[in-house]
């Protein structure tokens, strides 16, 4: 593996945007493979940042800054990727349920999924239950992901599953729930297909659902 990729990975972990930029241009100059630089450099660095987050070495501010550093590199390298290097992306729709505008958790999950080759349709926050379903159909996604930070909005989460069932579409999409007050027990109770306690686990769960075992 190119030494440059390792350096890119380190620069992402170190939240060093300037260094990422410099290294990304060096990848192009030295005619290294841009896709590999993203996959084995930038994405690898973000994976490591995710692990540090799980181990509580990094917290939300650090993870966000790693992601910014990674994205700077991706933007520079993307135009240089050979088309056959691209993998098909799995699609998910994500949002914060109606009544709740706390979207830090949702944004983290989105960010980690995007770095793991998922296409994420972000519905934002305060999203009515039926909108999750309408957009899931429209965008032909595989997974519906719902986040909530407030105990007061947990009922609306259950409505998504109930509506899916009533509309005969429960088997078409997998529903994953998460957020502060949510537990596996709650997910089971409302009939969701999965629960994730944090962003790193959400990625593993989605990979399992779409059959991309890692």
């Amino acid at each position: 593996m190119s030494e440059l990729f390792q350096k890119l990975s380190d620069a992402v972990v170190d939240m060093d945007e300037d260094l990422v930029e410099e290294l990304a241009y060096r990848v192009i100059e030295e005619q290294e493979d841009a896709f590999e630089a993203i996959d084995k450099g930038l994405t690898k660095g973000m994976d490591r940042a995710g692990k540090l987050f799980e181990e509580q070495e990094y917290f939300v501010p650090e993870l966000l800054m790693c992601a910014d550093a990674m994205n700077i590199g991706v933007e520079i390298l993307k135009p240089h990727i050979k088309v056959n290097g691209l993998r098909e992306k799995h699609k998910v729709v994500i949002g914060v349920i109606e009544g709740d505008t706390h979207d830090i958790g949702k944004n983290l999950v989105k960010l980690m999924l995007e770095t793991s080759n998922f296409e994420v349709i972000d519905l934002g926050r305060d999203v009515p239950p039926q909108t999750f379903i309408d957009r899931a159909i429209e965008e032909e996604v595989e997974i519906i992901m719902i986040s909530s930070l407030m105990t007061t909005t947990m009922d609306a989460m259950a409505d998504v599953v109930t509506n899916l069932r009533e509309q005969g579409m429960k088997d078409r999409f997998k529903v994953v729930v998460g957020g502060g007050p949510i537990s596996q027990g709650f997910a089971d109770k409302i009939g969701a297909d999965g629960y994730s306690k944090d962003a790193a686990n959400a990625v593993r769960l989605c990979q399992k659902i779409v059959g991309e075992v890692v």
Binding site: Y58, V60, P61, E62, G99, T101, I104, D126, T152, M154
Partner: protein, 343 residues
């Protein structure tokens, strides 16, 4: 103790670490709002109108106290007033749904437009809360009025886009500190209005200030610094302060011990019994699961509350924000478990 304490004396004595006959059972309002739909439908004093009118706010707070038997009046019923005064757009919600920040007004800490001191006292929503505090303090002087405040970091993250704000804490430390100071100064002004008009206790909830989000270093640098700045100023005004910290707290136990608050209220999954043994000086408050309150039965609520008593929790309260569809019978079982057992 021979004479029965009034609810106000009991709470104030508990916060001052003095002996009491039994723990108070309270619900401070704000993030922990107990104006459930069942009560509002019964009395006709309803949200969202009661967020804006002092008459309705007073009536609803009195209804809540009356129906639930919580041993305090607690207002306001939301966490949006501070951010509204300082510029963000608010959606007032509905009968079932609490108000929320529709859009944070700034994209980064560097864009913040600093308003002069005095902004709080000129605002109509602050006026409604303050007038209502005054009226409630006159309804029954034995019952303490708790003024609920949104904490410094949560207010800040309601003014600046939260993702940008969190990055700014590292990337733009100087600007972030200036912004936090600014937010704190306005919160102090608001709290002073509450205190001057009859609030007996201030309760601060700061859900953005969690160990899970910030980690120990940022928690100490920002959450502890600005919560303590606020608390210290309130103590100068001679009013006790409750602080509610969300999350599991494991990452920030030593930092939690640095907080100057008179009582520490926590989420349901934190063991207050363990916390008492870890931080010997702490006055504990909590922490009945709001999930149990919504979906459990009165019997289960009663049993679980007895466990809090057995664990010698100093102030009994819900662990977090209540769902507005929480059955009144469950809340009554909760307060009854404390009040009835002790006569």
């Amino acid at each position: 103790m021979t004479t029965l304490l009034s609810p106000k004396d009991r709470l104030l004595r508990t916060l001052a670490k003095q002996s009491v006959d039994r723990p108070p059972v309270i619900c401070p309002g704000g993030m922990m709002n107990s104006a459930v739909v069942e009560i509002m439908k019964e009395t006709g004093h309803t949200l969202p109108s009661a967020h804006l009118s002092w008459e309705l706010m007073t009536a609803l707070a009195a209804d809540v106290q009356n129906y639930t038997s919580f041993e305090n009046f607690g207002i306001p019923f939301c966490m949006t007033i501070e951010a509204e005064v300082l510029g963000s757009e608010i959606n007032y919600g509905s009968l079932e749904c609490e108000p929320k920040i529709q859009k944070e007004i700034f994209n980064s800490v560097k864009e913040v437009n600093f308003l002069p001191q005095g902004a709080m006292s000129k605002n109509h929503r602050v006026a409604a809360v303050v007038q209502s505090i005054y009226n409630l303090s006159k309804i029954n002087s034995d019952i303490p009025v708790i003024g609920s405040l949104t904490g410094p970091l949560s207010t800040a993250a309601s003014l600046v886009d939260p993702m940008q704000f969190l990055k700014g804490l590292r990337r733009e430390a100087e600007a972030s500190h200036r912004f936090m100071d600014y937010v704190c100064d306005h919160l102090i002004e608001y709290a002073k209005l509450m205190k001057d008009n009859g609030a007996s206790v201030i309760s601060i909830a700061d859900p953005t200030a969690t160990g899970e989000i910030l980690g120990p270093k940022m928690f100490e640098e920002y959450a502890v610094t600005y919560l303590n700045k606020l608390i210290d100023r309130l103590h100068e005004m001679k009013i006790p302060v409750i602080v509610h910290i969300c999350g599991r707290m494991e990452a920030v136990k030593p930092q939690i011990a640095m907080l100057h608050g008179d009582a520490l209220s926590v989420d349901a999954f934190v063991s207050l019994k363990n916390l008492k043994s870890e931080i010997s000086s702490v006055t504990t408050m909590g922490n009945l699961s709001t999930y149990l309150l919504e979906f459990g039965t009165p019997d289960k609520v009663y049993l679980q509350t007895e466990r809090l008593l057995a664990d010698r929790i100093d102030i009994i309260a819900p662990a977090c924000g209540l769902s507005t569809s929480t059955p009144l019978d469950n809340i009554k079982a909760f307060t009854k478990a404390i009040i009835e057992r002790h006569g």
